[in-house]
Subunit: 379 residues, 2 copies
Amino acid sequence: MLKRYLLAPGPTPVPPEVLLAMAKPIIHHRAPEFAQIFGEVREDLKWLFQTTNDVLIFASSGTGGMEGAVSNFLSPGDKALVVNGGKFGERWGKLCKTFGVQVIELKVEWGHAVNPQAVADALKKDPSIKAVFVQASETSTGVAHPTKALAEIVKLHDGTILVVDAITALGVFDIQTDAWGIDVVITGSQKALMLPPGLAFVSVSEKAWQMADKTKNAAFYFNFKKERESQVKNQTAYTPAVSMILGLQEVLRMLKAEGLENVFLRQTRLAHAMREGAKAAGLSLFPKESPSDALTAICSPDGVDGQAIYKNLRVQYGMTAAGGQDHLKGKIFRLSHMGYMDSFDVITALAAVEMVLKGLGHSVKLGSGVAKAQELLMA
Amino acid sequence: MLKRYLLAPGPTPVPPEVLLAMAKPIIHHRAPEFAQIFGEVREDLKWLFQTTNDVLIFASSGTGGMEGAVSNFLSPGDKALVVNGGKFGERWGKLCKTFGVQVIELKVEWGHAVNPQAVADALKKDPSIKAVFVQASETSTGVAHPTKALAEIVKLHDGTILVVDAITALGVFDIQTDAWGIDVVITGSQKALMLPPGLAFVSVSEKAWQMADKTKNAAFYFNFKKERESQVKNQTAYTPAVSMILGLQEVLRMLKAEGLENVFLRQTRLAHAMREGAKAAGLSLFPKESPSDALTAICSPDGVDGQAIYKNLRVQYGMTAAGGQDHLKGKIFRLSHMGYMDSFDVITALAAVEMVLKGLGHSVKLGSGVAKAQELLMA
């Protein structure tokens, strides 16, 4: 018998209350009862996104929201500045190219956050740039980019929008969509929203909607304007993922009951304990600056294969973490603490990592990282 | 947000697979489909009880099984030897008195196991004793009585049966009903059987059935003979707890897949790690001998109120343990590791106990107990 522990950076564990909500009988999506629920979650999403803009809901993974954020706002030949500091930054580039957008890539060394000045310089150098694409939290490296500073810069350019992939950020740390002036914010259901994968969410500012009026790119399933026309009437253009919406209703109620500040405090506290615990166990963190509170990327110690750590966590201890991607494969492993997580998830993760490392012959003092996390997580 | 951790000695956590099985639509209990399932669980219960005797199933808590084990075998005026080494030993005495049975009490100091010689002596002194009542695992003290040795003694007396409350023992450690010759073995659903409370199970030997023919006590709901007549036909005398039986089917499939020896090994390993972890954290165990592998009773350190430990575990860390009962209230606290438990449940429990003790001002080195458990639980 092996219990399962899900510590990958998505999908994350789903609370029992949410599983039960999703097990309710299917409501027809054109029935008044559904419209009422849809209206409730639309309002609550605005609260979560800290915006008065509409937050569109799609039956897709987060990448669907990212695709729409390219195809709805930019036309073939338009220029976009893409911050590429990891696998998901790379994805912005690929998406732009798919829709004929000229990519000006701002390459950031993996493990680092983008320097806002570099974005300011690029926009000054080429004022025809229509959009800046960035990750609030780059999941492949565990780094948070400085979203607020970027918003302040992009705001100064009337013809440029800021598009933020907040898939592993929204609901983890503060993203003030309206106050900071972020035009497009995207997230998915399977991260801090504690749901299974299957929903994408996109908030769109007035500035971005105006740009959407001029796009020459085709969008059907991810047509934001068409979707908005339906969703303001508490309907969807195409069939919504009904059970997921029922789960979302429960998630948003839970988050509201906890309070947004308390959610952020909890997530920050867990992230801090995980980082300090890892360091106390003699490990070093992969991010050189600005670690994301969503997940912790840890360097495999010298002589230990990161993929072996990842594999042994799963096989020996039932724990699903994540390995490194591309050139980081074998060099790092990643543990998430976003969403439905508490102190003992962090303690369990650190205990398992210590046990795996010792099992692989690495010299580690059992309990050393755990003790640090216990100290930081005392009530 | 506070996640919940259930480490009380029953009810214990229910595996998701079992919750799902119990969420299946209700089958009518006189339908052929139910009879087929009931037949399957009856066979599997014999495997679990290590017996060829029928194992009766009742919709009741374990105490219902205990009541039947008195009322079905003994008559008013009959004599019974009751081993009383804790709250549940006491309960045997109360049950016997309720049904007019004369109780010869073998008082065992709490924290100790009964000396088999004392039982042999009592039976020799009074051969008219019709039954010996004992707990295989006394939940109030965390002590295991020597069931096998008692069976060897009682077997020598043709007119005496051995009745074992195995409510926190069966499925935790080895109870060889037939090979050791235990006449009546009782358990409940909410312990090692990983189900919600609501089912009692009783196996009855041929020697006990013969005694049941002569009883003058009244039994209706817990009438074993009547129940057997129905259950051998895969029916029940009264309405069975259908959803619980569906869950039981899944539990028995899981236990069979793991294998009885592996189940015992896992439970022993967890119990050992919990005990050694507690000691490494500077705590002392309450049992003076023969600790039960179902749960660990730990003494509150000098100057620390055991009820405060119990309360703070729940309030500060979402963990339900158990306090001490009667004169042990405030003196001990108890943590269960039976049923659906693995290494990280023990590690989590020890981490939380250390954090609570430190929070209460007790000098404890964070991570000290955890590290010992990690060492013992390495894959």
